[in-house]
Symmetry: C2
Subunit: 217 residues, 2 copies
Amino acid sequence: MTESTKISKKVIERLSEYRTALDEQSAGEQRNIFSHELARLCGVTAAQVRRDLMSIGFSGSSAKGYDINELKQTVSDFLGFGEERRVVLVGIGHLGRALLDFFVNRHPKLVVCAGFDVNEMRINRVIHGVRCYAVSEMERVVAENRAQVGIITVPESAAQETAERLVEAGVTGVLNFAPVQLRVPGHVFVENLNISTVLEKVAYFAGLNADRERVTK
Amino acid sequence: MTESTKISKKVIERLSEYRTALDEQSAGEQRNIFSHELARLCGVTAAQVRRDLMSIGFSGSSAKGYDINELKQTVSDFLGFGEERRVVLVGIGHLGRALLDFFVNRHPKLVVCAGFDVNEMRINRVIHGVRCYAVSEMERVVAENRAQVGIITVPESAAQETAERLVEAGVTGVLNFAPVQLRVPGHVFVENLNISTVLEKVAYFAGLNADRERVTK
DNA sequence: TAGATTGTTAATCGATTAACAATC
DNA sequence: TAGATTGTTAATCGATTAACAATC
């Protein structure tokens, strides 16, 4: 394994957004794109685009910018889209179901291959095209599918135990929607996404802005 | 209006998480909490907690740490929880409905007061306790409710127009789930939350970690 | 060529961490 | 007092921005 240069979370996020933006562009006739065009589509600076692409070793031409198709391919490869990534989701409540719907057949390489729940009403069914199992089968199903990614949408009280079982079964990346700090081994990547926190943040700045508007009027 | 010290997005996020963590603590007997305890609950460092609390002017005691109830009150006040914030949601698909369910009666001060959609099947109904309207009524309903915050869960193609109408009606903060860079006036705060991007990031690092595991074995 | 863009370095900025005197 | 924690400053770290020679 080559000692890959350490790439930060932020760069990965931006690369992912570049790819999404390019996907939409490539429907058209356009074959090349300049850093400032891609930058505008993604809400970043042109210099940042150039630096990010440089960091994954992709070059453009000073006359024509970047080749859209080559760039899309390079970014996809870098992000590991060469092969399918298998994802499981635990907790098939409203949010879980919405996420199943969100990802099924929407993403080229992230395949949600199984859902889990404790509620008998939700197990042994196919929801949004995804087969759902009892939590007790997690170890077996995750291992059989070689799933590397787990999404946790269970209630807070069950999140830690869920994470432990996922990790035990071989998952090395977790997207956690429960408002708990998960304790996991060092080789497991955890991203916390607390929707309440995000909305509180928006509400805070909305309030600030509304006040400012009122004052300047 | 006093010229408040500029507080960064990250600090606001952490304050929101401190408050959530304290909410859960305060059920117990404990009356005080040390910076390192709160830090562990939220996955940050103790020094960071101390600095954040200092930045909103909250003091503890070197003997007993921070008073939980006072701290919760101070953080809540700072985040603007003194009065209800009214939120509207546009796009009542699976994700939109999950978010309605997520927020209704779950948050003390963020009140989702209306939903909007273009689909007739979804309008003039109450979904998860929230009244849903046709998009054509957006301006009127948002203004009547004095909603400051808008959540956008419409398809990508409709996101920009939705944002414009929300802003026109008086919204100053937007939480955008559509994978588009919204163009809005300077006084409007926009937070983009692209769930695909987040999952791609998790998948990337999950892959890295899985490789590393395989190599070190 | 002239003009615009890329690749890349240096300068800036902001946030985190280390450290420690003051405090209880 | 002795020991632990707070408040706060200085040092470090990392990421962004500015700038510009090289390129087309």
